[in-house]
Amino acid sequence: MAFLELRNVVKSFGRNEVVRGLSLSVEKGEFVSFLGGSGCGKTTTLRMIAGFEAPTEGSIFVEGAELSRVPPNRRRLGMVFQNYALFPNMTARRNIAFGLRVEGKKGPEVERRVDEMLELIGLGEFGERYPHQLSGGQQQRVALARALAPGPRALLLDEPLSALDAKIRVRLRDDIRAIQRELGITTIYVTHDQEEALSISDRVAVMRDGLIEQIGAPFEIYDRPATPYVAGFIGTLNLLQATALDPEEGSLLVEGQVVRVGRRLEARPGEARSLRLRPEALSLGGPGSNRLAAKLVNVKLHGAIVRLVARVGGQEVLVDCFNDRSLELPGIGADLSLTFAPESCAVERP
């Protein structure tokens, strides 16, 4: 039996159905991210698990027990909020001790646990500070410690890094993952940041219109997107207009150039199709049996990656290369030969 299970959960606000029959199973100790754009229902789903919203239909189970009508304070699920929600009238220590004191614990037992938590989040010397005396990153660490201190059954995080700046965000997300691994706590993480979700999760649930569009390991989601929406939402994607040439042989025409995808196409000759290609699947004259003649239009440096903007006939194509010393970039307007392997592209209806 799954540790956490959602069965056909529906949530409506008036006539607006925000979550539409969502089902999900999460194993004990797993780190699952809900990823999606605004209004996809990811936060509402998390809030239903936490108990802040009641499902209109369906059931939520934790360790086999139905939770849908259990109030949030009896669920024993730790929650971390986007805006930290630390108690302003309490020091970091007292914030962390809050859940323990609510449980009726006192004295040295509480102090020991608070010290442990402060150590875990690396803020041992900040215990006596009030929230307003801490930076955003420190406040979120305290919020994490506060949620973990009573030993919850699962940890729920609602866009915990959205209010932080980029550098702290990356560091803190790695720390969250390290702490989650150390404690082995089942975690549900809501984010709209695909890089965040892909980098720290065991599984990512890509959500759209109140449903899970695809759920899988980060590599699976990125490399084998199940739907055009997931393919477009995760990472950057080139969508090239093509025409089926020989469906049995798996060949298409892109701007008059032949491309082979290495498998049979479900199309009639001459039928329009879209060719999906990740920018990193293309290279400048590297390995790959497919070759497209292009012209270089622009070059953008993204730190470790150099993104080339090229034109294949009338269509724009993005190509990502590593920014290493061997990279020799042609000038703007130069002719390029873009290569890619047949298995690195997918074909879909336009």
């Binding site: 109030p71 304070n73 302003p88």
Partner: protein, 254 residues
């Protein structure tokens, strides 16, 4: 832009000075007048007369007691209501705000007659109970308490704090007394201050419901004497502020 800033700052100071003068000049004039009890010299003789009158401390004590009861009853009624409206019934907020304005629209004399008519015959013959006076005072101070609590709730992330506390296992009493009320401290103090100021000097309800309160006592003194009412006004002012300062100090200590 940079030239506008000092000018704006100067104007702020000017307005503050005007405000302070508006507030302190009558107070100073009353104080100076209260010192003229003895012909040809400034003296505290009027204050001596006030303290010598046993009615002074009796009525002032009564009004302070009523003010304390009003604060407790008013906050017990309004704080949970305001929190509930914020969290569960945000659409009802305009209605509540309209209700809070009612005491400005309905004069205290109407309220007093309403209370007398309703509570002076069976089955509700409670008019002789001080609880009816407190209930009237709660109505009068309703807008001030609600506005102060509303401002306090606006300045905090009520929903976030509530949900955080609930996710940590807290029920409503813990949430209210450990999280919300401590963070509403400033708002509660200002509600307390305003309620004390209103109740201690209140006249209409106390007269019509026939209670020996400080308001009627001051009015009586004002009719019969010259310097003592001025001394009384200064004393009541100082004592009210002293009581509030004491409560604030106690609040800070806890």
């Amino acid at each position: 832009m940079s030239d506008a800033k000092p000018i704006r700052k100067a104007f702020s100071w000017i307005w503050l000075a005007i405000g302070l003068l508006y507030f302190f000049i009558p107070l100073l004039a009353t104080f100076l007048f209260s010192l003229r009890g003895k012909k040809g010299a400034l003296s505290f003789v009027a204050y001596g007369h006030v303290f010598a009158d046993p009615q002074f401390l009796k009525t002032f004590g009564f009004s302070l007691g009523m003010a304390a009861c009003t604060v407790v009853a008013g906050l017990a009624l309004i704080v949970p209501t305001a929190i509930w409206v914020y969290l569960k019934l945000p659409k009802a907020k305009p209605v509540i705000e309209l209700l809070t304005l009612m005491p400005f629209v309905i004069p205290p004399i109407i309220l007093a007659f309403g209370l007398i008519r309703t509570y002076s015959r069976p089955p509700f013959a409670w008019i002789s109970s001080p609880a009816i006076l407190v209930a009237g005072y709660v109505v009068i101070s309703f807008p001030y308490i609600y506005k102060a609590v509303d401002a306090g709730l606006r300045s905090m992330d009520l929903r976030g704090l509530t949900e955080a506390a609930q996710s940590l296992g807290a029920g409503w009493p813990t949430l209210l007394f450990k999280v919300i009320l401590p963070n509403l401290r400033t708002a509660l103090l200002s509600a307390l201050f305003l309620t004390f100021a209103i109740v201690v000097g209140e006249l209409t309800l106390a007269v019509l419901l026939a209670w020996p309160a400080f308001g009627p006592y001051m009015a009586l003194m004002g009719r019969n004497l010259a310097y003592e009412p001025a001394a009384l006004a200064i004393l009541s002012f100082g004592l009210t502020w002293g009581a509030i300062a004491l409560m604030q100090a106690l609040g800070e200590k806890h």
